[in-house]
């Protein structure tokens, strides 16, 4: 069975009466894996539920392949969901839980059992067939839920923050498993996460949802290094934004001229904290306000007069708070934000979430 593409066409969804998604469109190419990322309340889970058929559409359409899913009830969409919680049935064994979609389809007992066991082997839970779901750990329960979703042999796989409830080691295992299974099957997949690093690892493409709309959609590298707006930049951890008028390829930053790419005129430039460097020979001076050891790097918050910049530097030789340093902003690392201010301004309040934050709506 060849994979199908998912087309979300200008949907409006208002679960509580007020619209959460407004005219949102997204295309997920057949057989690919897209990560949906965004802050709490942005509408990621609502989008997933709308595609699954669990939230009604006020407007727009959802198409899987050629087929419109608009008036199709969830149990006939060919869409499988792995929820944030495993949602296993306590009165059934692990195997019976996994076989649930087959039972729904009317598949006979022995075939159900063998197929369920195959799925359990695939997720690394071979031998768990007869166990009760209560005795399993969170990670094991999620894998049962994954096996159940695969058992449905769906055209589309939806995962809602599948790694959120797990501790970091388990998260890595499950992430690898999801990626491997998706690749083997060529299953069109949409994963929701609030963690930007996880989005980059889980998605072949990443889509950022802000205030009910897709703001940017592309390979992870693009969103991290070439954000289209200040809001996107902020969500992906680009804390450093420089605004001003570019003249002769130079931007004046607090009295110092910095070489920037692109034509003259008003511009907003962004640079990732990892790309800004401490260089005592640099013309731009700043005072270190905070120097925080973060394991893999040292986070520096520096003040260049009233401009606050953030740098991530290797721990070795990192300057301490109070020191005056030179900041090098390499021209090739500077990214010029497009002129679309509307999105930037309205999403300005959206705060980027970090690592092990709480799962979002």
């Amino acid at each position: 069975m060849s994979p199908l593409a998912l087309e979300i066409d200008a949907i409006t969804v208002s679960p509580g009466g007020a619209p959460v998604l407004r005219g949102l469109s997204l295309h997920v190419a057949a057989g690919t894996r897209t990560a949906l990322v965004g802050p709490s309340g942005a509408g990621k889970t609502t989008l997933l539920r709308a595609v699954a058929g669990l939230a009604p559409l006020d407007d727009g359409d959802v198409r899987l392949g050629e087929r419109s899913l608009r008036n199709v009830p969830p149990h006939r969409r060919g869409v499988a969901v792995v929820f944030q919680e495993p949602r296993l049935l306590a009165h059934l064994s692990v195997e019976e839980n996994v076989a649930l979609p087959l039972r729904a389809a009317g598949v006979g007992g022995s075939e159900r059992r063998s197929r369920a066991r195959e799925r359990l082997d695939e997720v690394g839970l071979g031998g768990f067939s007869a166990r009760r779901s209560q005795g399993l750990s969170g990670g094991e329960q999620q894998r049962v839920a994954l096996a159940r979703a695969l058992c449905a042999d769906p055209d589309l796989l939806l995962l809602d923050e599948p790694l959120a409830a797990l501790d970091p080691n388990r998260r890595e295992d499950l992430r690898r498993l999801i990626v491997r299974l998706q690749r083997e099957r060529g299953l069109t997949t949409l994963v929701v996460t609030h963690d930007r690093a996880e989005a980059a690892e889980l998605g072949e493409r990443v889509a950022l949802v802000l205030e009910g709309r897709i703001v940017q959609h592309g390979p992870p590298k693009e969103l991290f290094e070439r954000p289209v707006s200040a809001a996107v930049a902020r969500f992906f951890g680009v804390a450093n934004l420089l605004r001003g008028e570019v003249r002769d390829g130079l931007l004046e930053v607090r009295g110092t001229a910095v070489a920037v790419p692109g034509p003259d005129g008003d511009a907003t430039l962004a640079i990732r904290p990892e790309h800004a460097r401490v260089d005592d020979d640099a013309a731009l001076r700043a005072v270190v306000r905070e120097s925080v050891y973060a394991g893999t790097h040292v986070k520096l918050v520096v003040d260049c007069h009233d401009l606050r910049l953030e740098l991530h530097v290797p721990p070795a030789g990192a300057p301490a708070a109070g020191r005056e340093i030179g900041v090098d902003l390499p021209r090739e690392r500077l990214w010029r934000l497009p002129e679309d201010d509307e999105i930037a301004v309205s999403a300005a309040a959206a705060a980027p979430s970090r690592g092990a934050g709480r799962p979002s709506a």
């Binding site: 409006t12 208002s14 509580g16 009466g17 007020a18 619209p19 407004r22 009604p56 006020d58 407007d59």
Partner: protein, 279 residues
């Protein structure tokens, strides 16, 4: 587009109301019908004109006054005793004993009438307790104060109240008590400032529920209560066994009064419970 979301919400609310309608509708019909029927019977004797005779008869009847007094007495005594006892048991138990909690749920399925029958066998003159102890200090069966009736209701309602109180004395309360103890609060102070506010409302609501229930005492006093004075429900029964025509009206009037009294108490209880739960 916003209108569509709002319209959908309205449709969902309507659907919810429709789902609850059968149960609530049947209840309204039957319960409302019962109250209306009692009112009707009290005002319109069989095949006659509407008249206040039944009500006037009640008003002037000293037996009715005695019945009211007796019923209120039994109700008050039962409610206060079972509340006090339940509070004591709950404080001693503090939610810790699973066994005791299981034991407390045993009387729940036993009908009041059964408890009354067993009580008679035990506590009547010539009953088991009388024989075992060589004579009881009090008359508890068919005594003028209705102590047997009170005993039966205390026996049945105390476990119910204890379970209600224990439900309010959960982990959160234990944690708050610990915090208070750490800050130097004595046992008595903890009781007054931490425990009491938590159990106050369930106790009061539970007490009101018990009172409303005992107000309608019927089969228990029929079994173990005195022949005079009767409780209000007994009074109504006796009225129907006397003068056939007027009796129905008097009985209906009496029962309507008890129904209204219990209903008012029920409303009070729901209001208090709702306020406590934050509306």
């Amino acid at each position: 587009m916003e209108a569509r979301g709002a319209a959908r919400l309205r449709a969902e609310r309507r659907r919810a109301l429709l789902a609850a309608a059968p149960a609530l509708g049947v209840l309204t019909l039957l319960f409302g019908g019962a109250l209306a029927g009692a009112a009707r019977t009290s005002l319109v004797p069989l095949g006659g004109e509407p008249t206040l005779d039944a009500w006037r008869a009640l008003y002037g009847d000293p037996a009715f006054a005695d019945s009211v007094r007796f019923t209120l007495q039994v109700t008050l005594l039962s409610t206060l005793l079972s509340c006090a006892l339940a509070m004591l048991v709950a404080l001693v138990m503090r939610r810790r004993s699973v066994v005791v909690r299981a034991l407390l749920s045993l009387p729940v399925p036993v009908p009041h009438l059964l408890v009354a029958v067993a009580a008679v066998l035990w506590l009547a003159p010539g009953g088991l307790a009388d024989r075992a102890l060589g004579g009881l200090p009090l008359t508890l069966v068919r005594d003028d104060l209705g102590l047997g009736v009170v005993l039966v209701y205390v026996y049945k309602e105390t476990p119910f109240l204890v379970l209600l109180l224990l439900a309010a004395m959960g982990e959160a309360l234990a944690a708050r008590e610990e915090a208070a103890a750490v800050h130097g609060a004595s046992q008595w102070q903890r009781l007054r400032w931490v425990v009491w506010p938590a159990v106050r409302t369930p106790l009061v609501v539970g007490g009101i529920v018990v009172a409303a229930f005992v107000l309608g005492a019927f089969e228990v006093p029929l079994t173990i209560g005195p022949s005079y004075p009767p409780t209000l429900s007994e009074f109504a029964l006796q009225a129907t066994q006397g003068d056939l025509l007027a009796g129905e009206g008097v009985a209906a009037a009496t029962l309507l009064l008890t129904a209204v009294a219990s209903t008012l108490l029920a409303i009070l209880a729901v209001r208090l419970a709702k306020d406590a739960a934050g509306g």
